[in-house]
């Protein structure tokens, strides 16, 4: 795919997303689950159980919020709608993999979210001035990189489920199979340090801790095994890309171009 295709897709999708800026502001606001969890845990004074003081807890959940803002994925829902309505058909007949259009849509949406996410972070600091911090440049760069890798894993995981649309037609219901472990094992509800060690060991064998917990800990400046974290992210991506590819190729043979 040429640079020109990437540029054109991103600028067009960005223009499209700007048409929906109010909706995107609401979506950004709807991602406040980490703040709710922060409020819940800090009021119950369980920070120490998690190995974190109040400031650490605040920074972790703000980081989790920011990572979530830039790694959230909905490809399964868009793909299912396009597949059932027949909008997928023209995409399949163009010399560009349809999934790349969804990647562009997600990246454009992330760019549109940015000002809202910054505004929410500033509001958080105003309400919790003691938790204010600025990550160092290397920390920020590593967090940025790991968030993009987290987005890639999440996107590929959902694409895997989305490809099941070719068999089940309603694969969004199967997305729950990913969402529930994601919710509990990613670190969105509770830092993984709160888990018993044997549960933590099992959790670390799944891709979920690398979606929120790993990048959030880097951003918050918390101790984290950076080398193994990135290695695990790359491992999952290298497993998921061929898996999606195979499932896609098998599935597309079954495509019946419904509604088109």
């Amino acid at each position: 795919m040429s640079f020109k295709v990437i540029k054109t897709l991103l600028t067009t999708q960005y223009a499209y997303m700007l048409e929906y800026r109010i909706e995107i502001a609401l979506w950004a606001l709807s991602g406040v689950l980490p703040f709710i969890m922060f409020s819940l845990w800090s009021q119950n004074d369980v920070g120490n159980t998690f190995g974190l003081n109040d400031i650490g807890l605040a920074r972790y959940f703000l980081s989790a919020f920011l990572v979530r803002q830039f790694s959230v994925v909905w490809v399964v829902f868009s793909f299912e709608e396009d597949s059932l309505s027949g909008r997928l058909s023209p995409y399949l007949l163009q010399p560009l993999h349809p999934l790349l259009r969804y990647v562009a849509a997600h990246l454009a949406e992330q760019a549109t979210r940015l000002p809202f996410a910054i505004a929410i972070a500033i509001t958080f600091f105003i309400l919790n001035p003691s938790s204010f911090w600025l990550p160092s440049l290397p920390q920020f760069f590593l967090a940025y990189l790991s968030t993009h890798l987290a987005f890639s894993i999440a996107f590929l995981l959902q694409s895997l489920v989305a490809a099941l649309c070719f068999w089940t037609e309603k694969s969004s219901s199967l997305e729950r199979l990913i969402f529930v472990p994601y919710l509990f094992l990613s670190g969105l509800l509770v830092p993984l340090s709160a888990f018993p060690s044997n549960v933590l060991k099992i959790a670390m064998l799944t891709p979920f801790p690398y979606l929120i917990n790993f990048p959030a800990r880097i951003l918050a400046g918390m101790p984290v095994d950076i080398f193994n974290g990135f290695l695990a992210q790359i491992f999952w991506i290298s497993i998921l890309i061929p898996s999606v590819n195979i499932l896609w190729k098998l599935g597309v043979k079954r495509y019946t171009a419904m509604g088109a």
Binding site: S2, T8, L9, Y16, E19, G86, P90, Q94, A257
Partner: protein
């Protein structure tokens, strides 16, 4: 099937079956459907073969569910045939190779590829980038096609604000931007008003003349077929039952002509019974159905025997004839 160099599309013994499951109504039916789902294959297309040469405009005729859209989808590579071979421009369509995709386009009357909330121009530049056109090439091509389609500032207005006709023309522009040599058009005039239909038809005819592109068209509007398609392929219940010249089909469907006569003085109905089958009658107007071989003789007799103000000879409405054909599923 022997391969001729002028054949652009070869369809050989192609079949497509869809697997479906029926569900009985009610709670019991739901439980049975959930635990013991019975599926079976429904044939959509059965053993169809034909060839299409470069530059032809071919119309696919058939009632709803006859299999013409399925056939079109197999030829453009959107769905895989269950059996048989398809070759388009030397490619196997279902492999969807880049070189093949650059040769074809699919326009579906009720589906859009343009981004709803943005002006068509944005989608056009996405398509240009996807098909590897330079900005200059894209600009020239857009202007060229926009002129032919009579599109101007509509291209910079959000798609949602365009009329159906303007949207359809923009869709056609987007589909033709990469200069495809084979156009698959599935109901391209569906829902358009009479004027918009005529404009799309004249554009397609002009495009075919200028570029020599091959056009495969399905439509429920007979006007599309009569105006554009010298050749038609008729499909009934997934099977091909006619492939040939449209005029020959029309002639074989209607061995008679309608003769409408306006008389100067009122006459009785029985005076006309010997000339042909009476379709309509009032005092000074009569419509007769006359077989083609007796037409000249009957017309000259009418002119001799009656004081006639006006006489008109025409074919019976083709829509009605084709409608009857779909019910019958065969040509005499």
């Amino acid at each position: 099937m022997p391969n001729n160099p002028s054949d652009l599309i070869l369809v050989d013994q192609i079949s497509k079956y869809y697997r479906v499951a029926n569900k009985q109504p009610g709670f019991k039916g739901t439980l049975k459907h959930f635990f013991d789902r019975k599926t079976y294959d429904v044939p959509a297309v059965t053993d169809i073969s034909f060839k299409i040469t470069r530059g032809e405009i071919v119309g696919f005729l058939g009632a709803n569910g006859a299999g013409k859209t399925t056939l079109l989808k197999m030829m453009c590579g959107l769905i895989h045939p269950s059996r048989g071979l398809v070759d388009v421009c030397g490619f196997s369509p279902q492999r969807r190779q880049t070189a093949f995709l650059k040769e074809i386009t699919l326009v579906m009357g009720q589906k859009q590829q343009l981004i709803w909330d943005l002006p068509p121009m944005d989608s056009l530049y996405v398509n240009a980038a996807v098909y590897g056109l330079s900005d200059y090439e894209a600009k020239v091509r857009i202007n060229e096609l926009a002129d032919m389609l009579e599109l101007g500032e509509e291209l910079t207005r959000p798609v949602r604000k365009l009329s159906l006709g303007q949207r359809m023309k923009s869709e056609i522009l987007a589909a033709l931007l990469h200069k495809p040599s084979v156009l698959f058009l599935d109901e391209p005039t569906l829902g358009l008003d009479v004027n918009a239909q005529a404009r799309v038809r004249s554009f397609l005819s002009e495009y075919n003349k200028i570029t020599g592109a091959t056009i495969l068209l399905t439509s429920h509007y007979m006007a599309d077929i009569t105006a554009l398609c010298p050749r038609v392929i008729c499909i009934h219940k997934g099977k091909l039952f006619y492939d040939g010249d449209f005029d020959s089909l029309a002639n074989s469907l209607s061995p008679s002509r309608e003769v409408k006569v306006e008389l100067k003085n009122p006459c009785s109905k029985d005076q006309f019974e010997k000339y042909g089958e009476i379709q309509d009658f009032n005092d000074r107007f009569i419509c007769l159905l006359v077989s083609r071989d007796k037409l000249t003789e009957v017309v000259s007799k009418l002119l001799t025997d009656f004081d006639i103000i006006d006489l008109e000879i025409s074919d019976p409405p083709i829509d009605q004839l084709i409608g009857d054909l779909f019910i019958k599923g065969e040509v005499n």
